[in-house]
């Protein structure tokens, strides 16, 4: 009886090992590895595209601020200054993400999505440079405000 039990246990063990072996063999077939990689890659591409879309929408919304028709008093300019600082901070964070992602780009992975991501980051940078120009630098250039005013009277 004991011998049979031992036999049964051994048989069970054989079955277990065979099953596990089969399962693992099945899990690690080339197709499974490729599929798992592709799933992750698709998720990565999707999340990067969503991020780029979000940044582009933000850029559009920031651009619309330049069409405010009210005069910018000191309080508004102080807020614009805070906004520029926040844009710069966000840009630094995004550049760090881009550096991490570009390791994959160098290997030819998700090249288009990473390029699109970089373009949206560059647009954000261009936007805060334009904001500094519009609200702090151009008004200080002698004659700029006056020329604008004269053009309005033509």
């Amino acid at each position: 009886m004991e011998c049979l039990t031992a036999k049964d246990r051994i048989i069970d063990s054989v079955k277990q090992v065979r099953n596990d072996s089969f399962a693992d063999k099945k899990h690690f077939t080339e197709e499974q590895i490729v599929n798992s990689f592709l799933d992750n890659l698709l998720d990565f591409k999707k999340s990067l595209s969503e991020k780029s879309f979000k940044i582009n929408e933000l850029n559009k919304s920031l651009e619309s601020l330049t069409w405010i028709n009210e005069n910018m008093d000191d309080d508004c300019l102080r807020l614009i200054n805070d906004l520029i600082a926040a844009m710069k901070d966000y840009h630094s964070t995004l550049i760090r993400h881009y550096v991490n992602a570009s390791i994959l780009k160098d290997k030819g992975i998700a090249k288009d999505e990473i390029k699109e991501f970089k373009n949206s980051i560059d647009d954000l940078k261009e936007m805060f440079i334009d904001f500094e120009s519009i609200y702090f630098h151009l008004p200080q250039i002698p004659g700029f405000k006056e020329t604008s005013k004269e053009l309005s009277l033509i």
Binding site: E126, I134, I141, L151
Partner: protein
């Protein structure tokens, strides 16, 4: 709506037009600036805050595309192309200086006062620059 340009704009356009990297420039200009109401062109980044005549920087053809600087006189329904530069490629630059932006505005102001502008028209999908009724094909 009438479209005019500074001599600078024409020079820059001619320089870029011949380059393979910028082959879409002419069609991009025609597509964006022509056959539209002036109100539709009131978009982009306004450089002179709330001034009545908006001085606009417009990104065309995506992030790596072209940057156009132009002025709109809404009452006159006139648009003045002042400058264009590509963002990428052999003649690409990220931006122009604030001094250049101010100088362009002064130039367009003086040119409007002196009537020293080129009229820009589209004929058969091609831009024509006309001065004193004499057409110059480029």
């Amino acid at each position: 709506m009438k479209v005019f340009c500074l001599e600078n704009f024409k020079e820059e356009f001619c320089k870029l037009k011949g380059k393979k990297a910028y082959k879409t420039l002419e069609s991009d200009i025609i597509k964006y600036f022509f056959h539209k109401d002036i109100a539709e062109l009131n978009s982009g980044t306004r450089l002179n805050q709330n001034a009545e005549a908006p001085y606009i920087k417009k990104r065309i053809n995506g992030s790596g595309g072209f940057r156009f600087y132009f002025l709109i006189l809404l009452k006159e329904e006139n648009l003045y192309l002042m400058f264009v530069h590509p963002k990428n490629g052999p003649d690409g630059s990220s931006n122009i200086t604030d001094e250049s932006k101010a100088l362009l505005l002064k130039k367009v102001h003086d040119s409007i006062i002196n009537g020293d502008l080129l009229n820009v028209e589209v004929v058969d999908k091609t831009l024509f620059f006309k001065k004193n009724e004499k057409k110059e094909f480029v």
